[in-house]
């Protein structure tokens, strides 16, 4: 296993307005490759209520266990709505790599090694996000909810600064509050695209409408 030090970005969003372009697959492949070959400690945060990345990384059974244990992003957003002071790291499922080399049983406790963790999603995330938006809605400021979520997500990621080398946000299609918050705090964005006219149009819309006009990050 390589032990090259990771000097790359801290937060990466995999995002596109269009669905079915391979965002979750890209997330999984990048996470696996960096944790195995570069000894990077990767945390995937699944922002998509479809929970595809969560199912791929945890398996259906593992996701069920996370769900019934209250260890999901949905539970974290619920805790924000309830005003609880729960720590973000209590929603992290760690040691979840399907690669034999990275399974907890096979890892040495000495020295630096890569690892893979996830804050999984569930279909109920859409309702939790709606509740969060409702709570933080302001008639005077349409971006209020996004700003509050950005602040929470930034604090959450910063609290893991020394435990995780790279955070990958697997964003849902469209432009949800969580997606906007993730894009706001990301150092880089990967936008998978299908090689077809509608794919190019959607990438342009993501850049112009999403990143430039809405978030002003371009």
């Amino acid at each position: 296993m390589s032990s090259r030090p990771w000097t790359g970005k801290r937060a990466l969003s995999i995002a596109n307005l269009k669905g079915g372009v391979g965002k979750s697959t890209t997330t999984m492949m990048v996470a696996d490759a960096l944790s195995l070959n570069w000894s990077v400690r990767v945390l995937v945060v699944d922002l998509d209520a479809q929970a595809n990345a969560s199912q791929m990384l945890l398996s259906f059974k593992g996701l069920q266990i996370a769900r019934t244990s209250g260890v999901t992003l949905t539970d974290w957003v619920d805790s924000l709505v309830e005003g609880s002071d729960s720590k973000f790291y209590t929603y992290v499922k760690s040691g979840i790599s399907g690669l034999t080399e990275l399974s907890p049983q096979n890892m040495s406790q000495h020295g630096k090694s890569g690892s893979l963790s996830i804050v999984p999603s569930t279909p109920e995330l859409r309702f939790s996000e709606l509740a969060f938006d409702h709570r933080n809605y302001s008639r005077q400021d349409s971006a209020a909810s996004t700003l509050v979520m950005t602040s929470h997500l930034r604090s959450a990621i910063e609290s893991l600064a020394q435990s995780v080398d790279l955070v990958i946000f697997d964003c849902p299609p469209g432009f949800t509050t969580l997606t906007q918050a993730a894009l706001n705090i990301s150092d880089a964005i990967i936008s998978p695209t299908l090689e077809e006219p509608i794919g190019a149009w959607s990438l342009k819309a993501f850049r112009d409408f999403g990143l430039r006009d809405t978030l002003g990050v371009l």
């Binding site: 400690r41 209250g70 630096k112």
Partner: protein, 197 residues
């Protein structure tokens, strides 16, 4: 960069809690060679219990639940943790952790191994020897933020604590949110949501 020595014990709790949340299941899995257990942890130093007496108050606790997939069993082990700064460490810490172990199945002493408590010092050896003799596990770290640097120096022996005592400890010391997570997980086991079928 020089390692910062933390001098206030309470400032270490958040780091230990993060270690328990993110890494402890992997640590247990490495030790047993079995699947990682489901771990629920909390800072319990101020919650419930007797009004005074530090020897009755572990700083943190973790409930590790593991279920057999083919050989049917369900085991819940309560781990208690006494945290010490390098400055506050002495042999008494091992006795304190051991005394707190009466509430759970495994007792641990956790401390920052720098300065006078560095692993090259006589104090480190004394504390480690006492801990091993008392059946107390020892976890050390140098830089609390660096999860790669946390190290199990000694494994605890399982105590004969009654499960009902451990259950009462969880009921009276863990936060409501954490207990709700445990309840949800256990009810998932009953309904079969957490099984292969």
């Amino acid at each position: 960069m020089p390692i910062e020595q933390v001098t206030i014990e309470r400032e270490l709790y958040d780091h230990v809690h993060r270690f328990l949340s993110m890494d402890f299941n992997g640590v247990l899995a490495r030790h047993t060679g079995a699947h990682p257990p489901q771990v629920f942890s909390d800072v319990v130093s101020k919650a419930g219990g007797e009004a005074d007496g530090s020897w009755t108050r572990p700083d943190l606790a973790a409930l590790a639940i593991v279920r057999g997939e083919f050989v049917p069993f369900l085991r819940a082990d309560l781990h208690t943790f006494e945290v010490k700064t390098a400055k506050g460490l002495d042999v008494q810490g091992a006795h304190e952790a051991s005394a707190q172990g009466r509430f759970g199945h495994y007792a641990w002493l956790v401390f920052q191994a720098v300065s006078r408590a560095d692993r090259t010092t006589a104090l480190f050896d004394q504390v480690l020897r006492s801990s091993v003799r008392l059946g107390v596990g020892v976890v050390t770290f140098k830089e609390p933020c660096d999860s790669n640097g946390w190290h199990v120096d000694a494994w605890p022996r399982r105590t004969a604590t009654d499960d009902a005592v451990a259950d009462e400890f969880v009921a009276s010391r863990f936060r409501r949110e954490t207990k709700n997570k445990i309840r949800k997980y256990l009810s998932g086991l009953k309904t079969g949501d957490n099984t292969d079928e």
